[in-house]
Symmetry: D4
Amino acid sequence: MSVADEFVLDFARPERIGLEEAVYAAGKSPAQIDAILDAAAVREAAMLLTRLEPGKHAALADRHRARLDYCAVSRTAIFGRPRPVRGPARIGIVAAGTSDIAVAREAERTLAHQGHATTLFADVGVAGLWRLTRRLAEIRAHPVLIVAAGMDAALPSVVGGLVASAIIAVPTSVGYGVAEGGRTALDAILASCAPGLTVVNIDNGYGAACAAMRLLHAARALAPDPARPGETA
Amino acid sequence: MSVADEFVLDFARPERIGLEEAVYAAGKSPAQIDAILDAAAVREAAMLLTRLEPGKHAALADRHRARLDYCAVSRTAIFGRPRPVRGPARIGIVAAGTSDIAVAREAERTLAHQGHATTLFADVGVAGLWRLTRRLAEIRAHPVLIVAAGMDAALPSVVGGLVASAIIAVPTSVGYGVAEGGRTALDAILASCAPGLTVVNIDNGYGAACAAMRLLHAARALAPDPARPGETA
Amino acid sequence: MSVADEFVLDFARPERIGLEEAVYAAGKSPAQIDAILDAAAVREAAMLLTRLEPGKHAALADRHRARLDYCAVSRTAIFGRPRPVRGPARIGIVAAGTSDIAVAREAERTLAHQGHATTLFADVGVAGLWRLTRRLAEIRAHPVLIVAAGMDAALPSVVGGLVASAIIAVPTSVGYGVAEGGRTALDAILASCAPGLTVVNIDNGYGAACAAMRLLHAARALAPDPARPGETA
Amino acid sequence: MSVADEFVLDFARPERIGLEEAVYAAGKSPAQIDAILDAAAVREAAMLLTRLEPGKHAALADRHRARLDYCAVSRTAIFGRPRPVRGPARIGIVAAGTSDIAVAREAERTLAHQGHATTLFADVGVAGLWRLTRRLAEIRAHPVLIVAAGMDAALPSVVGGLVASAIIAVPTSVGYGVAEGGRTALDAILASCAPGLTVVNIDNGYGAACAAMRLLHAARALAPDPARPGETA
Amino acid sequence: MSVADEFVLDFARPERIGLEEAVYAAGKSPAQIDAILDAAAVREAAMLLTRLEPGKHAALADRHRARLDYCAVSRTAIFGRPRPVRGPARIGIVAAGTSDIAVAREAERTLAHQGHATTLFADVGVAGLWRLTRRLAEIRAHPVLIVAAGMDAALPSVVGGLVASAIIAVPTSVGYGVAEGGRTALDAILASCAPGLTVVNIDNGYGAACAAMRLLHAARALAPDPARPGETA
Amino acid sequence: MSVADEFVLDFARPERIGLEEAVYAAGKSPAQIDAILDAAAVREAAMLLTRLEPGKHAALADRHRARLDYCAVSRTAIFGRPRPVRGPARIGIVAAGTSDIAVAREAERTLAHQGHATTLFADVGVAGLWRLTRRLAEIRAHPVLIVAAGMDAALPSVVGGLVASAIIAVPTSVGYGVAEGGRTALDAILASCAPGLTVVNIDNGYGAACAAMRLLHAARALAPDPARPGETA
Amino acid sequence: MSVADEFVLDFARPERIGLEEAVYAAGKSPAQIDAILDAAAVREAAMLLTRLEPGKHAALADRHRARLDYCAVSRTAIFGRPRPVRGPARIGIVAAGTSDIAVAREAERTLAHQGHATTLFADVGVAGLWRLTRRLAEIRAHPVLIVAAGMDAALPSVVGGLVASAIIAVPTSVGYGVAEGGRTALDAILASCAPGLTVVNIDNGYGAACAAMRLLHAARALAPDPARPGETA
Amino acid sequence: MSVADEFVLDFARPERIGLEEAVYAAGKSPAQIDAILDAAAVREAAMLLTRLEPGKHAALADRHRARLDYCAVSRTAIFGRPRPVRGPARIGIVAAGTSDIAVAREAERTLAHQGHATTLFADVGVAGLWRLTRRLAEIRAHPVLIVAAGMDAALPSVVGGLVASAIIAVPTSVGYGVAEGGRTALDAILASCAPGLTVVNIDNGYGAACAAMRLLHAARALAPDPARPGETA
């Protein structure tokens, strides 16, 4: 059995669920990734790779590496031509601390890959609340917010109590002791006293971006039909 | 210090975040709840109570009980006049098993309290996939889905791979052994291979409903302005 | 061996560590508690009992029950004559939600038992930040703060970022799902990004009060000697 | 005491339980493994080694390395002459994702070592259900299925609801955040709503293969005796 | 929405996966169970109910209770006419201690309901190994073994090292301290040094029985075709 | 977006909460830390860095490294001119074992950076109680104690039963098996039978020092006003 | 199958391992226990029952109840004639707090049942170290010590650092918050810095007593043979 | 403060508790260990070092390394002249698998360092019970047994059911998946159905040896005084 038999690409995914397939590189060998990119190249498909460590990136075939836009901070790579990013940013990405930037960038690049503009708000955690409040009006202007926070993850609770936007929180594994691995951040968000927060897996900036895109898809479906006056979403 | 000093109602919440305050009854005494309802009655405010056990409901003052619409299955009560439910259902509530109905009903009543119609799809878990597939077209027609599932919570993954709607999953505490308490269901959803699922706390039908309302709020903000032709969400 | 051989009261504790012995009633039989109170009565000692469930309180000997000041909310009882509470309150007790009142009251009564005045700030959790900020000046005026919070316990982080007071946080077991039992609240406080918070065990209002009294003791030792001008603590 | 005293090979195992002894290399030094292979060579016994990291493989004595058929993907080595693989495949090995191939290969090689043919179905996870359904008839034709899946491990539940075959599920440690280490995959399978799934330890492809061989052994014992007409298994 | 809309019976299950649907009573109300039994009665279907507590059994409609064969030890009920149990027992059920009998009985009755004979071996745990060894020949004569054990669950390991039969282990929640809830028993079996054990969820006698039936199904498919001489399974 | 947009320094922190901002280096890249130090240099601000691994320290810009006082044991660095340490030590730092020194040094250097003298008591764990008792008088003379202990962390309990000082315990991750990671030490302190201990996160010497400084701040506020005779703290 | 087939008594246990069989009543029905006692009565065997709740004790057959020496504190019952307790106490039982008495009594009665005298030292926990030190000489005079402690379980560490006796520690489930269930106490003892402590399961006073009897057995085997002068143990 | 102030050697330990101090090298720097050995050298004391990784051993001062008897398998080193090992082995060390040898050797060398002979029984785990039974008589002849086992740790239960000796079990971290880290092995032993097993921390061969020496100490104290005929231990 060859490497090419070890994967089945889901090119029908966009039609089915509105999201393009991405390649989770963490559990795959360079040979497997090369074979996947070969298949993508044949179809002239663009493709996002996540969790691609620098060492594995370096081990890919030269023919592919040349076509990859690689970002070591977020460990993402974009293969082929990304869609152009259009329009004003409707999605805000809020990072509690400087250490949460890697996760925020993963979300940002996933969205950019599919043509969505975003605004990044960095280092606005609650230890100095003024850093959040001075940017609150700007944040509130984004109907969809991705909020990345580690340690105690108090930021999503505070934001959730102050703005009406849809909030997708991403707990991060930043921290040590009881915070190590991100379980405390995850559970704190799930237990938030601010109503209506949603959560994705620890460090899952990619998943948060996909959730935001599902939300945009829902918004289009919910949009009032101008032809039927008086209807509201 | 009297009981009335033990709470501070947040009547400004709807203006701030688009959601009405609800009373989490589990940790409160009947005396505290009675005092809260007195304050609501003075303002002629409607109010949702969650996690109100039958015994505690029975212990409330008669003057309040008469004005409560109580549902023992979901342990919710609606005080005062709820908003009328309008328009076609845009939010689908999908319950994996019969045992997940209590959580689904909590979401349904929270949404009804604020005027939102929903469609309930019950007992469509993956052990008999045909139960899901025969209703898939109907489910897909709802731009927003709340999916409640316990045990292994495979349903949100399968739904997430088949529809493009925004998905808010609610793990439930249904099950025994490793499933007891709902942590397995929660973690399985967070770890889902279907991209873009979001999650709320275990058994948190109320929170899922609030997340759905934030999403509707975002959809309104994202709606293309008919005055600016050509713009898309 | 009689019941009287099953305990050894530590009447020397105040001299040694500045705190009076208290009786943890949860693991003791009514017969054991009666014997302990007999021993206290002989010495005319006042004594605090914690975790005394109403049923166990009712099962105590009449001669003791008559001398007990019992509070069912905090499940504490004070035996004998408490010290008079003197002076202005220097210790603030901040409770995130109405459901955290039981723990706050345990701290309040432990301190009152030893003569310390306190101010209670109830229901100031971060879901409605205005509830906290409108009382911030008052809170800040207390050099020592006990902050009780369950669920995500975001309140201690926010308070810790806004005031310079010494903060003793008490996680509470309020909540369900991932919040059940209080571990999430505990870990969130330990992982707080606000520097210098300290924590005690879940629901341990008694311990927080003891920590506050140790702190007052330290403050007396640290106080500048007026005889030595220019010295600062 | 010499290295040769540190192990006792169980050459009677096949007669006793129908399975040949295998060497778990993870906790053994190269010197210990060399001594074990010496003992096997003396008896001209074939032997499977599992969890043999490339570095440890490289550190073995040359005389043994020459006789080892090593597979770095599955970290298995077969020493000596394996039995010939005979007949059509009755055991299907289903891998949810490309990242689960290593575990699937461990099962495949364990079975091949004892003469059993298998069919591998790779990358048929539920995120794109069509990948599973298009191969369902083939999968169903195998009376015994080993299903390897990580993350949320929804695949065994779905397969279990669709086919009647005996199913041995292997949770894998593929994933990050709550999925890291494989506990979520394990618990999700144990909690499956599909009846009659069985499970082995995380990443234990070897154990799943052994369970399949026990099952084949049982099948032989259960086979109707042609001499006694009318009897059914 | 009526109770009848809250469930969807899977009467096609036997054709699909060879197992009849069973009703997990734990999360269902008496009204829901009554409605399910009404539906079964209409089709003259027999049906197994699991996790039916005595109190809930007593609350069912009289018309159904009269047709239920209820066993309080295993909390199972069989509705309607069960299949006759035929032939010699090929499945052995081994219970480590007297306290594991409830789980063993659940497996036994699930199998009896579908016509399979079993032999029960009770109280053969390893604390007195002679209790196991004196019955070993009998146990070994059963090609399929269900082994229920709590506490340290050493029994499946010992049995697995002594017999070649297919083994489905059921950890039980018997025990206290670290054994409470059954996680230790579960993990001990998964970590067993005896190769080829399989496991189901804690206390899941029903699931073990289903796994045994899948195995019998596989055995029938694997049986050598007498028409093709020389073929072996 | 440049690196300079990824952080927001909180230079107002001392005025607000009495503590200077410190930089948690663990999650930051050398480029980010360099940018932060550039910003500090512009303001001529002194700054503490914690969790700065030797490798990352070596990767910082030469212009900054020259101004850093780096301590590899505690992995802390002090940038710029620290405040002079004044007066007699009022804070004792007690380390249970030699392995807890790293954490103790982190606390010591954090306090020194802000001008506070400390006394270190090393290797006084309870396995040899005489090591503690021979220094007890000295320890007791410090109104504030930071007690670092790993493994079973029995030391804070014993100290708490012997002295009246305010105690801030720091569990350490020293140990293996059940002690690995420090959770056992943390929980043991939280569960201590000695009343009034407070705790910070595992290995958080920095946080313990901040808590001590909050306490000194409270002591100043609690100090009797010489102008109002008769008042006591 | 009758109840009598559900158990197999191990009357050969004393000859094999020096300990008499005891009946763990927690998982057994009154009918099962009655049948076991019938079997014991036939052989005129004495028998210890552990974990026998008052309600279950009351449900036993009158003929057995009359012959049971029942202790509600330790939930143990002794059936038939116990051996006479002989000689001076060589085993000390040390209970940290009054709440640990139940476990201590279980150990005491298990030993008394087999003829061993013990001394109980109650309420000597480390919160008031003088309570321990004033009895230290007496404690040290016992070559074997069973030490029961809950919460932080600091007592075994302190005792282990002060006496040379063999120490069998029993963690208890006394406590709340992080102490609930006894895992913290267990882990703290396992992680103790005092060398040579051994541990049994949480609340397992019975097991500690058995371990003490194994130790006495070993001591007899290790005793120097007076016939062979000069030999030492 | 110099390195020499960071430790306090407990040379009085043998007199107090019968055990010599050992140095836990894992958390100490080479400089700290060198200083400790300097102090030992001055007193001409022998000293055991545990958890000394090869790299750290290599980093010690030459003057010390020359006097160290280092064993890389057990990571122990003996400094100075060990006591001569005398007499027949009374302590058996039983290792379940080849991978448990490292822990067994740590126990063996700790005992040898203080003059105690031992017998090692390797690879006698229950997967092939004959390996245990063929050596049972020999094992039984040792009054004290240290039993090291990882994975499911069924061996101590089986041994405990077959021999009367005192048993000190050491769970090991051998294994993967649910066995990783050794918690499963630890809990399985604690939950053992064989009465009277005792346990030490995971991988703690040193602690098991110390417990064995405490036991020998107790045996000497329990030995019948030949001067008082008729007395038995």
